[in-house]
């Protein structure tokens, strides 16, 4: 019986490297990354940003986590001062990102079509999906089972072959 041996499979797999995202995707990626960073910064409450920055700062000096209250408070105050300066220096695009946000959240109701991807710059991608999954992971970890009700069929057809 004719069979694909490892070499044939290997060659077919190597050709998969040519499956590439649309032109301009990589060039645009960095812009998207910056925009998301600014978004996150604007969304996070100030106190948490301070704690995170303090933790990173402490980690760089190999200090144990700041469990002492006075140290934490001092750190937060110092952070707040530093952070307010940084935000002051952030250029205008930050506010543009803020107004962009509602648009990003909107597509939850639109049905994703199975078309090959259009350039990221013009496509409003739904980051909600990953965040929802993180949430469900948390409830899962607490010991409750996953209550099954699929939202997508386990099997589908795309052609009229029979």
């Amino acid at each position: 019986m004719d069979e694909f041996n490892d070499n044939e499979i290997t060659k077919l797999l190597r050709l998969k490297r040519y499956e590439q995202p649309p032109p301009g995707y990589f060039e645009n990626f960095l812009h998207e990354f910056h925009r998301r960073q600014r978004d996150e910064l604007l969304r996070e409450p100030l106190w948490r940003i301070c704690i995170d920055r303090t933790r990173d700062f402490a980690a760089s000096f190999n200090l144990s986590t700041l469990t002492s209250y006075p140290a934490a408070v001092t750190a937060v105050l110092v952070c707040a001062a530093v952070l307010s300066l940084r935000i002051y220096q952030t250029p205008a695009p930050a506010t543009v990102a803020a107004t962009d946000r509602p648009v990003l959240v909107a597509p939850a109701s639109t049905e994703p079509e199975w078309t090959l991807a259009s350039p990221v710059a013009t496509r409003v991608f739904n980051t909600r999906s990953l965040r929802n999954m993180t949430k469900s992971a948390q409830t899962h970890r607490s010991g409750t089972p996953r209550y099954v009700l699929d939202s997508v069929p386990v099997s589908y057809e795309t052609t009229f072959k029979f």
Partner: protein, 229 residues
């Protein structure tokens, strides 16, 4: 590929965005590895000192590679894009704690593989294929030309049908098996590197590859019964 060791400040984006297939010749790979490691070390050091633009260069440098890794594990462009953003975001937050025990390459690939595996676990079997187009540069690939030369019975359409079946077969593999297949066969990573990234022995990597190959073989053999006209 640029063999530069020192990093000139005004480097062109197009140089870093080169995502062509790896040469595969061992000595050339070793030379590339060395220069890449040095470059990474410098960029990481600058990032840790507070130079965010250095991290930008790492992002630009690693996006094409990580894209290939994540995309071939998820078979979905949108999910890949979301994951890549999260991967670099996590890396940026964690980079202060990066001590250089492993190379940055290994470190960021570890983050990428683990986040993708976690994502796949939560996504489960229900997914939507969202496959990228095949880039036209495939026309100059030696193996592609061999497979579709006019003297053989195969035409491009047959090959694309096979590629489709292969994509389906890949999704039938377990997430862990798909990960090693992607890293070894598609990304061209050596066994040693894969074992460092997954924190398993090289023997485990080899046996997973063998098993996965057999599974893929079986799936494609089925479709042989119904070859394309």
């Amino acid at each position: 590929m640029n063999p530069a060791i020192a990093l000139p400040p005004a480097r062109r984006l197009t140089d870093l965005l080169s995502s062509g297939p790896d040469a595969g010749v061992k000595s050339k790979r070793q030379a590339m590895d060395e220069s890449r490691k040095d470059e990474d070390q410098q960029l990481v050091a600058r990032t840790q000192e507070g130079d965010a633009s250095a991290f930008d260069q790492l992002v630009v440098k690693y996006t094409p590679r990580l894209y290939g890794l994540v995309y071939n594990m998820t078979s979905n462009h949108e999910d890949t894009n979301d994951l890549l953003q999260d991967i670099f975001s996590k890396a940026y937050k964690a980079i202060r704690g990066f001590r250089g025990k492993s190379s940055f390459y290994t470190w960021i690939h570890s983050i990428a593989v683990n986040m993708t595996l976690n994502f796949l676990k939560k996504r489960g079997r229900r997914f939507q294929l969202s496959l990228d187009d095949v880039d036209s540069s495939i026309q100059s690939d030696k193996e592609f030309l061999e497979a579709t030369a006019s003297s053989s019975p195969v035409r491009e359409a047959d090959l694309s049908e096979l590629q489709k079946r292969l994509n389906e077969a890949m999704m039938k593999l377990s997430d862990e098996h798909r990960a090693v297949v992607t890293m070894f066969h598609i990304q061209g990573m050596p066994h040693a590197e894969i074992s460092k990234i997954l924190r398993v022995s090289e023997g485990t990597v080899r046996s997973r590859l063998f098993y996965a190959n057999r599974q893929l073989q079986n799936y494609l053999d089925e479709f042989r019964k119904n070859p394309v006209t």
